[in-house]
Symmetry: C2
Subunit: 313 residues, 2 copies
């Protein structure tokens, strides 16, 4: 199939059906929380830390690749170590793709015009098309429509996608996102714009290539937005360590069990330090803790949400 | 002076007074617009392009370092070429600092909690403190207060600063920034929050370490915000190719000629292709065009704004 026939909305639906679940594993490496095996060797300069991040993330990918549809590397933790960190990020992304995972580059990038286009061209598209070879990128909407359109254009050309911040999982999301203009909160204004973009880019499975970030910690808005955005994929952060449960995210899905992917970062990649897992596995068996936490989240979501209805293939 | 006694608001005031002008040269390299001398050699893969960006930006820095207080590398154009681009960005930043320039990392980064802290720790701070060794970073506010505070904390600890997007120079800024809640536009809500942060971090020269991005293309809002934000440095984009003139930015300054820095990217670094300069210099003398364009902008701003009142040192 030629590259241009790829469609991110369809690819995501197929990956969710293939694996039978919508779990996205967030690759948020933090030096202080890595299993000791990755931090024991030598001095901890930026290069060593970046190399440890690469090894750790690849090992996580080895565990989760057979289980989930996608991973979401968090650019910030790699950027923290400068160019060395970004080199490691590039290798992690390439490895995830080689293991058949979709890659959502979590960078919350945003700019205008040709600068937005440079971000989009740099991050989106595979097989040598882009600098970061990712399937999708998260984008911040404060700059307005002319900051989002360049991402949509590049994504469409390259069979990739984006997720626009709509209603985020943090308490501070109240400051701007919940402010009401006339009778419409700002997040809803962004939502309506995103749904329009999704409609214009709809694929065979009913969803567009422009998704929305909607936090698990606000179940009421999640339900409201599912209704308001019937053609928009949701990327749902806030599950696990931020307090969101499987019940909280149930409203994010359509009746087929599609329409949303749910991210979990620390709760999976650092499962070895969660009280419930520490006793069962201990740090030497940290990879088994990652697998158990992933399987547990999958089971919870399949039990408590329409994901249980998925026709897996 | 110990590092922790550095204060970005004071450093910027001192640099503006030392050079006698508030011009920030935007390092926005674009492959198609580079002088031919940088693009002639060999195949144009990402590595070659990134190396050309590095050489070009260093040559621009050599021209402008004696003239202006700061440069603003645009991360997007380096990210476009993946890890190779980011390695080049690191070298460009280090070179600018070695030439005595303040460096504003234009990345419009944003995230929450410890992820925002990772961005801040990665970008802000010099002398081996951070991965990118920059003096300031641009930040997007859609996620709210808990996305800005981590940047402020790290910046304060490291003698660095940030610039929060308030009212940007693009037409799309209307979509969210100009929406009115009660009687207050969203941009004004962000402005009031930023001014509070500036007040809490005020230095000896009267300005805080938390600045605001306010576009040259909206002179009325620029004047309104100058009054509303007396302790906040402005970073003013939109001069030159986006249509902003020296008269348009006059209201951004206080009576001493401080309080704002004005960015120009393409109008300076690609001056050789501006009609007025093409005939005078032609591409072989592209560095002379860069110098002439920089001096012209400085002269315009000194003639048309309170910058002419600067007590240069």
């Amino acid at each position: 199939m030629p590259k241009t026939e790829r469609h991110f909305g369809d690819d995501l639906a197929n990956a969710v059906e293939r694996t039978g679940n919508p779990v996205v594993v967030g690759l948020d490496p933090r030096w202080e929380q890595l299993p000791a095996i990755f931090t024991d060797a030598g001095p901890a300069d930026f290069l060593k830390r970046a190399e440890a991040f690469e090894k750790f993330c690849k090992a996580v990918i080895d565990v989760v690749a057979p289980l989930v549809p996608a991973v979401k590397p968090q650019a910030a933790f790699f950027e923290e170590y400068g160019p060395a960190g970004m080199v490691a990020l590039g290798k992690v992304i390439a490895y995830a793709r080689s293991r058949g995972l979709l890659v959502i580059f979590d960078g919350k990038r945003n700019d205008i015009g040709s600068t937005a286009e440079a971000y989009a061209r740099g991050i989106l598209g595979r097989d040598g098309q882009s600098g970061w070879e990712s399937d999708a990128v998260t984008v911040s909407p404060y700059l307005g429509a002319d900051s989002l359109e360049p991402f949509v254009e590049v994504a469409r050309d390259r069979g990739a996608g984006l997720f626009v911040l709509v209603k985020t999982s943090n308490p501070g999301s109240h400051m701007l996102q919940d402010q009401v203009v006339g009778e419409t909160p700002i997040y809803r204004r962004v939502a309506d714009y995103v749904e329009g973009l999704s409609d214009q880019t709809r694929g065979k499975r009913g969803y567009g290539i422009v998704g929305a970030v909607v936090g698990a910690t606000y179940p009421k808005q999640l339900a409201e937005l599912r209704t308001a955005m019937p053609q928009t994929w949701f990327l749902v952060p806030g599950f696990g360590s931020q307090g969101g449960t499987a019940k909280d995210v149930a409203a994010a899905f359509d009746q087929r069990g599609l329409g949303a992917v749910v991210n979990n970062s620390r709760g999976i990649i650092f499962a070895h330090s969660r009280p419930a897992y520490r006793d069962r596995f201990g740090e030497p068996r940290w990879e088994e803790a990652v697998e158990a936490a992933t399987r547990e989240m999958i089971a919870q979501i399949r039990a408590e949400t329409p994901v249980g209805n998925l026709s897996t293939g």
